[in-house]
Symmetry: C2
Amino acid sequence: MTFADVREAVRRIAPHVHRTPVVTSATIDVRVGTRVWFKCENLQKVGAFKARGAVNAVLSLGDEVASRGVVTHSSGNHGQALAYAAAIRGIRCAVVMPDHAPRVKVDAVRGYGAEVVFCVHHERDRVAADLVAETGAAFVHPFDDPAVVAGQATVAAEFLDEVPDLDVLVAPIGGGGLLSGTVVAAAALSPDTVVLGAEPAAVDDAARSLASGVRQPAVTDPRTMADGLLTRIGELPFRILSQAGVEIVTVTEAEILEAATLFLERMKLVVEPSGATGLAALLASPERFAGKRVGIVLSGGNTDLAWYRPATTAPRNR
Amino acid sequence: MTFADVREAVRRIAPHVHRTPVVTSATIDVRVGTRVWFKCENLQKVGAFKARGAVNAVLSLGDEVASRGVVTHSSGNHGQALAYAAAIRGIRCAVVMPDHAPRVKVDAVRGYGAEVVFCVHHERDRVAADLVAETGAAFVHPFDDPAVVAGQATVAAEFLDEVPDLDVLVAPIGGGGLLSGTVVAAAALSPDTVVLGAEPAAVDDAARSLASGVRQPAVTDPRTMADGLLTRIGELPFRILSQAGVEIVTVTEAEILEAATLFLERMKLVVEPSGATGLAALLASPERFAGKRVGIVLSGGNTDLAWYRPATTAPRNR
């Protein structure tokens, strides 16, 4: 996967995704003591950057392959994204989802015309493989796929086009599709920009993988509100990120909650906990970013807000 | 107040306010059966378009007048906006607020360095007048002020610059500063665009004023979740709006709630109920907008979300 693939992805997906806005907040700048720009992928199609990778992957398929449809497994944004991408191309899509998936997520996938196939979580690989074997559909992995990574890289390509001289660029890491795409785009467009990953401390396999140089197993039974980042870092992202020497900052649940609440109350943006880990990293160690021009990717906005506790339950004035 | 004042306001306030993004949503387009663009003043400084009018008014004051400070009364966004504007100019600001104002709103005004003066609601005019008499400060009315209206007009000026060929442009109406500014800007920049106001049915004095041609008294004891639109239509806005023959669409509380929920869940934007009345008007009578290119101003995002009921309380799938 090279920057040529990213450039091609930019062109390919442009008619089907939003060029999302970049916003700033004086409140946040004062709070963290530096200048921060936010790329609002929560305002992207399907509510997350995942639309980019899925659209790029589906539009990259040859006609004959595409005609047999696409399959993936996902309890979250990639499932919606692939359903959206398949609808654009007018092909069939099946999404393998866990039995306990929230109804809103199931309805969202079905709303794009995709079929939902339920199974218990640990059987998802087998169920998806069976679907591929039965139908000849193409499996589109959420992150271990060069076309998906090239699609996610368009976030940073747009961001650096709009704010060219960022010192630091922070993106969340789960499987690593977004972060590895960010590295590829930044290396080509702004080689002096330092790319950092932000990961919940509760599911820190990527941080440990990159620190040790060996891809670590998934954390067992992880507990984090950042439900979009539960996945183990993928092989392709791990290769790209370790080659680039990317560092991962881990953040606590309290820092994630604080960041998501700041987005909601101060910036009027609905950001899912996973999408708030970048700002959480700033809140965690402001000294590391002091005086720098910092770009942060808000990766998504799909949340039921169950984590939110309104400040107005505080006592009244006087 | 003419378009020359608007042009001047654009130049004057540009360094101090955001050029807010314009966003679209396929979900909403399908839902209402037309193409809709949203101007995100919820992402404006202080969380609402009011920053524009207040900054324009404060920066328009002569040095000697400004040196004595500014005063207003407001339980909402104008108070914060004036405090912000005064901080920019480095002058004193006092905001008269009701005794029962929520602590977050009081803290926000104080956060910009302004003084908060509490009083019972019906004495606010007298208390503000006393402050003006004591200190020689300039009173900056929330909407009955040409410099404020010219500032609010910059919303539509930016909007029509970005989406030039709107058939309809909808903005909420409370006191009428935003809507009358919208009329002045649209008349100059896009004379074929029809400007409509959106007002809660529970506080429909503006609709009745413009339908009857006579400015009506404020509704007594109004009950609406759109707490930013409780105010009676002002004299200057009434003159501008009746001269232009602007029509006001009234919306129910259920329509306002539905619109605010769509913004939160589908568009990932925190929009206060007052700011959601434009979309509520589309939901109320989609046939009126069918096939048209519609622009809607999201006027603000300052809300505690107490009105929100998550969809995820719905039963699970299967």
